[in-house]
Symmetry: C2
Subunit: 419 residues, 2 copies
Amino acid sequence: MQDELKHVVIVGVGFAGLFAAKKFFRKKVKVTIIDRHNYHTFNPLLYQVGAGELDPEQVAYPVRSILRKQSNIDFLMANVTGIKFNKRILVTDRGEISYDYLILSPGSGPNFFNTKGAETNSAIMKTLDDSIALKNRILMLFEKATKCEDPEERKKCLTFVIIGGGPTGVEFAGAFAELVNGPFKKDYPGIKPDEVNIIVIDVGKRILPMYNEKSSAYATRILEKMRVKVLTEKQVTAIDKDAVRFSTGEILKSGTILWTAGVSGIRLKTDIKIPERRDFRLQVENTLRFPGYENVFICGDLAYLEQDGVPLPMNAPVASQEGELAAMNILRIIENKELKPFRYADRGAMVTIGRNSAIAKYKIIEVRGFIAWIMWIFIHIFYLIGFRNKIFVMINWSRDYIMFERSGRMIIPSARIKK
Amino acid sequence: MQDELKHVVIVGVGFAGLFAAKKFFRKKVKVTIIDRHNYHTFNPLLYQVGAGELDPEQVAYPVRSILRKQSNIDFLMANVTGIKFNKRILVTDRGEISYDYLILSPGSGPNFFNTKGAETNSAIMKTLDDSIALKNRILMLFEKATKCEDPEERKKCLTFVIIGGGPTGVEFAGAFAELVNGPFKKDYPGIKPDEVNIIVIDVGKRILPMYNEKSSAYATRILEKMRVKVLTEKQVTAIDKDAVRFSTGEILKSGTILWTAGVSGIRLKTDIKIPERRDFRLQVENTLRFPGYENVFICGDLAYLEQDGVPLPMNAPVASQEGELAAMNILRIIENKELKPFRYADRGAMVTIGRNSAIAKYKIIEVRGFIAWIMWIFIHIFYLIGFRNKIFVMINWSRDYIMFERSGRMIIPSARIKK
């Protein structure tokens, strides 16, 4: 009997992978979930790790704890290096794994749109490690600036450029500006807040284009109040080691260039020719099935699907719902039932810019200000996986709110893993 | 007037350096305190980071926050590479710094006693980074073991050797055994607790030789109850990449060899010939002055001083008291007063072995068991610097006590600092 159980392999423990796994709890399938990290990352709050607001442990949760009581689900920490679709085999750095069904949800990476030097010279914020590196870098540059006597070098150290005026760029800019205007003012008495330049750059007409014009104007106003410069309609042509080049010929010197302008699917080596989109995402059927492979489902950021003529966004709610449906559709195949199509239930979107300032959106209604900010806090707390994390994040945020303080101001480069 | 202020330089933000700095608060001296990290580490709890009990941020505290309101004290993040005693200059990777008075408290490193291969092949636990690396290594080996089919390789992965039965080795062994017998049993259902070998090795007749024989026997008994093997009178002659070699010719294969057997002073390049002790500590006068240099004081682990014919231990209480006296003696020189000799006020010592099990010692009285353990908790909480850390550590410990849980089970190798 045991041997007849179908083997489902899930790639990735992001929102899509985890929500898929949960649907297999106590089901008659054997599941292996694979990731190169042994923890799930709460990506929507990564920018707070970058800005020293939360500790890395507060936005991550060990996978094995989540799956603990599920005897039919196995976790494997491994790097997926390729897929042999025709042989139903996954290739990893810990050996080959055969599957009956595959849920592919490896997430996304940055999309540099072939901008010269961008990949080498910019910081990103796609993983926990990226965010820790960014925080360490910011702290190092402040330390360097304190004793820097060359005014040009000092200015470069204290200039932080964020390319991309989407939610990630705006949220990071706001959180970072609060760090600079608050705790850093006290920690670095030799550096005046107006010496620090935080600049958000976007190629479009306005930041946060997914919100309405009023909300974009509101976000710009709040950022400018916090001394963040917002430059729109600026085309970046290249990124040097410590400068941004624009199509106008202008050059902006900066010690930290953070790229949040684009996201693309993770590329995997396969034995088939996949029609590639410019953003490396894979077009899926409305059942989330990979066209031509009835046993393969794709979800999360890697899946490209339109709903009512509009592409679904690459975010946690879409990924979670896709993961659930992909798992349910696999169970339906096993039970000889018909597949269900995916239908995204929009629960709204929100972005926080700073203390008391956020934008919340539900369908065409948008709310701004303190109420949106309170909503943002409770929804994020609610979705943070794990009891401990919820309490700790709440304490951190409350203290920060009352004391204008920050917790994560230590440069902990941490540790090589000797294998 | 300003220019006449004397310049005191303090090397190190450990217990000695920080307690020295505190004595200069609101005093008429200019102080620069230097460290390669921008945080103070609560070293007595590093082993809990190694065993995944506490998060790194919970045992560290940013230096700039501690010194925030002190306009006469400056922090410099730099590596001290040498000292020119005769020119009163400190050499760092961020330039030379001249001083009128110097407090040298750079701390200690491991002492391998010239054991072959020990430096290259063993893990240590002297800094926060070391502890994070150790934790990551342990987790990686458990992940590796889960899918390892070669029984010999699997046994090696699951064998953890701790060399040194002093407080650090014993405390780590206990905390690690609790992790293995508790959360790991649930996280790694494929690994049976009795497959995991934790072995404490000491060259002496008994572990914890600074406590009485009854206490040593108690510690051994508690450890053995937790399935930790305690091997005494074992002489290690060499450490290979994955094996310990003994004087008897025996070879013990192990994926993790943790060295806690010895501590030595940090060696610095100087322009003078220093009479070197075998442990690289520096003999000081009873005023903590460096013989021959009236403006240099040494304290903390680097200072060697005897009291009543017995060398003072290398621990936090001694370092703190030395730091305070060194600072006071510098102020006394400036005020033309006579120097005071150092006299260690022994407030006792304690070591915890596990849940409800600790040993507390005051002079010749030793207490064992639950009462000692409660004392241990409150004293450590009390001394942990920072309100936030106290709350968080308390929450972590309470939850762990009630739920038999652990927080820090994520492998976060973290992040290169791009300069």
